[in-house]
Symmetry: C2
């Protein structure tokens, strides 16, 4: 469902160019559970942004779901593709500050125009699964760092997307809470065939991944199956 | 240098009250290297904010450096206390988006009106120590998550404060980069007697801490010396 071929991503800063990704090839299928690992600044978030159609490569192609080449899509097509098929957990959460937990998690379903009773049912169930029922009416600034992170997780999963891109989903979570979140994702992978692509430094995530892709200085250094 | 007595912190949300901290006593001296640990939502960030004079308790007292009781200080006194004696690494970084790395790190010294040549020398040295010399002129949105975190670390340490409060300082860092940051802090603790108080889930930090304070549901569950 993800076919990345020979992509390069450069950032121009004045006269100086940062080669964030260099010649990256990657193919990801359905039901995968893979972890992208590598040092700080090695290109993990950049790669996730390209796969998630939040950005386009400087050269090379990103082909999604067998049919969409991201650099050829217009804004409307990209928005629909992301809304309906991809769930994204950002490294910096990006919750809407004026909405509470329930409203932030409901938003993707509102955008898909799902019926209100179904939204209410699905949202309260997922908020329960990430342990935030007690805080359902808090807004992001009334939550701890780890609580905000869990809202971001719930929001990414609520639409039951085919592909979930999770950038450091456990960075602010204690061991037990992190494991609970990973169990939830593993269960969606088993029962729905959802593909999960993590960018992480957390050994717990690396421990349950079925495939590990190592990035260093913008290049893929290693790509191995572990289970 | 930190004397916390019987503090409670309540957050009022409409009719419902969150008891974020309940009856917390804590004494911290010079040259300490301690880690506050506990589940997500247990009160760690709230405790750091009270120690760092970013907030005042609902009841009880926080006495800093043997002389300042935080709930009795006016804004000006609190600002000076924080500026000159405390360094703070926030869980969400809080860098200034319009300033680059060098400017963000220099800011606390500018506020102390240190001479420009000395600022330049100290800033470039510390930026080197956190491995960001190559990215010195990038702004926060032109940096990776872990790079931004390292800028926040450098900014907290640049004034050589007596007390550093570090909220999840390694959450977005790979193992090696995280260890390098911890080594830097351990060295400041040994050579300057700087007290470090961490809030963390990272086993690496817990591994080098000399004292571990465990928080659960707003209460101190355990407080033990390990080295
Ligand atoms: N402004 C606020 N209004 C209401 N409740 C709040 C507010 N800030 C924090 N809380 C609540 O206080 C409790 C403690 O929050 P705190 O941020 O101290 O937790 P933490 O231990 O740092 O968690 P984490 O490990 O997830 O960062 C949480 O249950 C949180 O929801
Ligand atoms: N908008 C930008 N302009 C310039 N350079 C950028 C920009 N965004 C990222 N970079 C650079 O591209 C490189 C890769 O960044 P990326 O965010 O992908 O790293 P990462 O592997 O996610 O790191 P971390 O583990 O610290 O989150 C970094 O060196 C970063 O400084
Ligand atoms: Mg990143
Ligand atoms: Mg916190």
């Amino acid at each position: 469902i993800v076919n990345v071929e020979k992509i390069c991503k450069d950032y121009q800063l004045g006269t100086h160019v940062v080669h964030a990704l260099v010649d990256v090839d990657l193919r990801i299928g359905t039901s995968e559970f893979l972890s992208i690992v590598g040092p700080s600044g090695s290109g993990k978030t950049t790669l996730l942004n390209l796969i998630g159609c939040l950005d386009v490569p400087t050269s090379g192609s990103v082909r999604m779901f067998g049919e969409f080449e991201t650099s050829k899509l217009d804004d409307r097509a990209t928005t629909l593709l992301r809304r309906d098929r991809i769930g994204f957990i950002f490294q910096t959460f990006n919750l809407l500050p004026v909405l509470n937990v329930l409203e932030n998690v409901a938003l993707p379903l509102e955008l898909q125009q799902v019926a209100k009773p179904e939204i209410a049912r699905r949202v309260s169930e997922l908020v329960e699964e990430v342990g935030l029922t007690e805080f359902a009416r808090h807004r992001p600034d009334e939550l701890s760092g780890g609580q905000r992170q869990r809202v971001a997780v719930a929001r990414a999963l609520i639409t039951n997307p085919q592909l979930v891109l999770a950038d450091e989903p456990t960075a602010n979570l204690d061991h037990d809470t992190g494991m609970a979140v990973l169990e939830l994702m593993l269960e969606m992978n088993r029962s729905h065939g959802t593909t999960f692509v993590f960018s992480t430094h957390d050994p717990k995530v690396m421990g349950i991944a079925k495939r590990i892709v190592t990035v260093e200085d913008g290049r893929i250094k290693e790509d191995r199956n572990v289970a």
